[in-house]
Every structure is written in structure tokens, then in C-alpha cells.
Amino acid sequence: MSLRIRRAESMQLRTKITAIFILLTGLFQIAIFLLIYFVSQNYTESEFYLRLSQRATIAARAYLEEDEVNIDIYDDIRIRHLQTLPEEKEVIYPVDAENKKPLTPFDSSLPGTFFQSVFQREYAEFKRDDYYYTGLLYHHDEGDFIVVLSARDLYGIGKMDNLRNTLTIAFVVSLVFISIFGYYYAKRALSPIYRMIKKANTIKAENLSLRLDTEDGQGELSELSHTFNNMLDRLQISFDLQSNFINNASHELRNPLTAILGQTEIALSKERTIAEYRATLNNIDLEASRLDSLVNGLLKLAKTDFDARGLVIEELRLDQILIEIKQNLDVANPSNRIKLNFDSLPVDEHALTLLGSETLIKVALSNILENATKFSDNKTVTAKLLADGDHILLIITDEGVGIPSEELKNIFEPFYRGSNVRDLEGFGFGLPLAYRIVKLHSGEIRVSSQIGKGTIVKIKLPIQESNGY
């Protein structure tokens, strides 16, 4: 059900992106096309008025000259070269320019303001329906005249009709293409999210080691994948720590319980004296007390992993942590031959300080050092600590059985155990847990191993300033 809701929402998002894209592009196109249309119309009209005014000037000069030949020449030029404009008409009105009065009545169909403009500015333009009028005040020896020339701009109208049709078709066609491409690219842009949803839905408690693909490497979606994977890392560490805790706890609890069961079985096998029962009860009490302190210790251990807010992040000195781990391992396995090499330690103690969880770092490093000892049959294991300014480097070298090269890529998979160490005790989650803890601390871990020769584990952790927390 929830999956269906999510899918419906993502469908809406795709449609929404496409619709917004089409709307914005459409509005932008409309604005641009309207601008083109009106600028063209304005230019066509200006051009036509210019032609009208030129023709009005020529007409005035021709008609108002004394020489009648001019009229013939004008008519000839107009007909041959200038061509008559569609429905062209010239009217010449004798006027009194000083008093701004007509000497013969003006065409009553034209507005009075038009003639007033001619008187004032000696030139005026007017448009009614498809007809364009220009009026020109012409001063002559015989008096003043207003030449009014009118015509229809059929060519301009045709040009504008053609432009309008072209722009309309271009708008419709581009809108169709924008819709198709917009929908296609919205679909493609969101396809990584669908893939992520699909992959995320397959991740369950049983296969928590699965991760989202992050090979695209760039952008917000890659960041989202990384963030999601980091969250899974933290979840898996919690899961593994619990498993680790349960395994350790069951192992530790079994010994006193076996002792108690053994004691009671022996005590109940036949009649005993009071002293014997007392001795048995004392032993049981001893074992129960051990059990009690063990349970208390385990509870304390469990509590230190996480406090109420989650992981406890603090400043850690890696050299001190290594010394503590070595001390613990010396108690657990006195025959270990771990050598800590601090010869290359930097003078500045900050170069060895990182921000992180002490418990987790201890778990990670203990697991690696324990593995190195376990799989090298207590041969020498060297742990060398050094710093390069931005990172702390820990190199753990052992002379153990090594890891087959074809299995190196699997060693960080949970419960994977090398084919050459299956007879040795272990669960196969020590190294994967260490790997995730190192990753959680924005570090790197790399393993070089040669079968029968040994293994080099290289851990690189960022120092306090550049830590990724």
C-alpha cells in the first residue's frame, strides 16, 4: 500500500515537473513571439508612413509647381517606378497656416485633431481600419497647403498575417516537442530515484549489507545514495554489535552455567552428607556470583556502546587506544606476539587525535588485531602507527596464513570466511564490522595479502580537524 502511494507521488512529481517546464517555456515563448510580432508591426507601419510621407512630398511639389510638365513627370515616375500604392488617394487643401484655418472644407470623415496636428507640427499620421493617412503642411509662394495622402498597406498586412501564422505554428510545434522532451527528460531525471526506491525496498534485516549504487559519483542523488548507505552502515553496525554482544555473552555465560549444572547433577546423583551439600551450594554460589558480575559487566558494556542520544563521539588518541587493546589482548591471549611500533609517531599529539566512538574504534581494531594473531598462529604481528598531517595511518602486518587473492574482495562481506581458515573458530563478522566502523569514521581500510606469507592491513583515519562527522 505504502509502495503504491509512493509511486503515485513520484508519478505526480514527474507530471508536475513536465507541466511546470511546459508552462514556463510556453509563457516565455508567448512573450518572445508577441514582442517579435508587435515590433515587426510597428516597423512595418513606420516604414509605410515613411513611404506615404515621401509620396506626399513628391505629390505636393508636383501639383503645386506652375509648370504643368511636372505633373506629367510625377505621374510618369509614380506609375513606372514608384508604383501606385493600393487605393492611393491624394487631396490638397489650401489653408491659412497662420490662423490654422482651412480655405476649403476638410474631409469630414477625418478627425479634426489630425489637421490640428498638421498645423502644429507640419506633419501628422493617422490610421483608420486598414487605411493610413499622412498629412503634410506645404508652404508655397501661392499660399499654404495641406497635402493628405492615404493608402492601404496590403503588402504589410500580408506580411504581418504571414508572420502571425508562422509564429502560431512555431509555438504549437515547439510546445508539442517541449512536452515530449520535457516528459522524457523528467522521466530520465527521476529514473535514478525509481532505481533507488526499488533497491531500497529489497533491503531487509536479512540482507542489510546491500547498498544503493553510487557509481554516478556526482550530484544530489549520489549524495542521497551516500547518505542512505551511511545510514545503513550505522544500522548494520548496531545489528552486528548486538550479534557480537549476544555471541560474546552466550559464550561467557555458558561456562558458569555449565559449572552450576555439573555441580547440581553430581550433587543429585546420590545421597550426600550435609557438608557435601554445603560445599556444592558454596560452589554454586561462587559460580552464580561470577554469573552475576558477568551479567552486570555485559550490561555495562551494552550501555557504553550507545548512550541515550546515540553514539558517544569524543576525542580519541589512537596510540592510547592501541595500548589498551594490547593490554586486553594480553589478558585474553597471553601468547600473542603483537608488537606496537610507535617509532614514527609525530611530535604534535593532535596529529594522532581523531573524533569518534571509543567503543567502536576499540571493537574495530581489536577485531583486526585478534584476526592477525589468530590466523598467524601467534606469530609476530606488527602494528605501526604514523601520521601524514591529515590522517592517522595504522599498518598491521602479520605472517599468517594469508587470504586467497580471489577471496580478497569478499572479506568485508558479513559471515564470509576464507576457504583456508574454516577450521579455525570464528563467525566471520569481525572484519566486516571493523570495515564499517572505519567507514563510519570517514576512514579507509585496505588489505594486501599473500597466501602462506601474510597480510598487511592498512587503516587510514582522518584526524580531528578533517573528520567527516
Binding site: Y185, K384, L393, I395, K409, R446, S448, Q450, I456
Partner: protein, 160 residues
């Protein structure tokens, strides 16, 4: 001290072979020679002005030099010397002469196509090493997944 020849392509990943030398020759000091196949220029000017040191400085990038220095520090108790040599020969005879000069009998080479040589003037010396050195240890090593950062392009803008 053991002198070990290791081919390189001047990538940080190729330096992992040095760690395999440390694993394979334990409890001994190592003199590592990183070898790179380089074709000499085919013009007189290039030949007369050829300088191995200058060429190596041109080929070695910052990350490689840094990784090499860190590697030496990490294994300072084992690695006593590490240097880079260019092999500019064309055949096994040239390589034998080269080996004689270096006085080396052990080598670590990767199995398969681990090293990458994209430049036409460079070549992999693993073939000559395997053919001419007595003790060659082949390491079945795989290239790690390094995703180079994509540069901006118009095609990448449309390619989600």
C-alpha cells in the same frame, strides 16, 4: 638486502605491489626498483636532449609521489631504498643489459592487465621481467574501483 624489481604505471594503485614485495620477502631489508617502460624520442633533438631524471619528474604525478613517500614511511623498517628507473630498450638483450646494470634477481609483477599504459610512448615491462628474471612472483591483484570525476559537458547535462 634484497633488490626487487617492480613494474609501475605511475598510479597510486600500482604501489600496492610494493606491499606484496614486503609480504613475499619477509625479515629482510628491501631495495625496491620501480621500473617503467619508456620509448625514446625518434628525432635527433629529442635523443640528444633526453634526460631520465627530467622525464621521470614529468611522469610522476603529485599523488603518486606522495603515496610513495608515505609507503616508505609506513614500512621504513623494511624498505631501505626505493627508486624509479626507465627502461628504454626494445628487446630482451637490452633488458638483460639493463638487469646487469641494476644487479637484480627478484621481481614482483601483477597477473593480467593490472597496470594501465594509455600513453603511446610508454609500455608495460612485465613481459621482459617474466622472460629474463629468475625469481618472478606473479600477484593476482585486481584494479580497485576508481570513479574519475566527470567533467562538465553538454552531453552530461542531458544524460542523467
Amino acid at each position: 638486502m634484497k633488490r626487487v624489481l617492480i613494474p609501475t604505471d605511475f598510479t597510486v594503485a600500482s604501489l600496492q605491489l610494493v606491499e606484496y614485495a614486503i609480504l613475499n620477502f619477509p625479515k629482510t631489508h628491501l631495495d625496491i626498483i620501480l621500473i617503467y617502460g619508456f620509448r625514446l624520442p625518434d628525432n635527433r633533438w629529442g635523443l640528444t636532449h633526453f634526460s631520465q631524471v627530467r622525464e621521470i619528474n614529468k611522469l610522476v604525478g603529485g599523488p603518486y609521489a606522495q603515496a610513495k613517500n608515505i609507503l616508505v614511511r609506513e614500512h621504513s623498517d623494511v624498505i631501505k631504498h626505493i627508486r624509479i628507473e626507465l627502461f628504454t630498450g626494445f628487446n630482451s638483450f637490452a633488458f638483460q643489459n639493463f638487469l646487469e646494470k641494476l644487479d637484480v634477481r627478484d621481481a614482483i609483477v601483477p597477473e593480467g592487465k593490472f597496470l594501465q599504459f594509455n600513453n603511446i610512448s610508454c609500455f608495460d615491462t612485465s613481459f621482459y621481467i617474466k622472460k629474463n628474471i629468475e625469481n618472478v612472483i606473479e600477484i593476482p591483484i585486481e584494479a580497485g574501483k576508481d570513479y574519475p570525476k566527470a567533467k562538465f559537458s553538454f552531453s552530461s547535462l542531458l544524460n542523467f
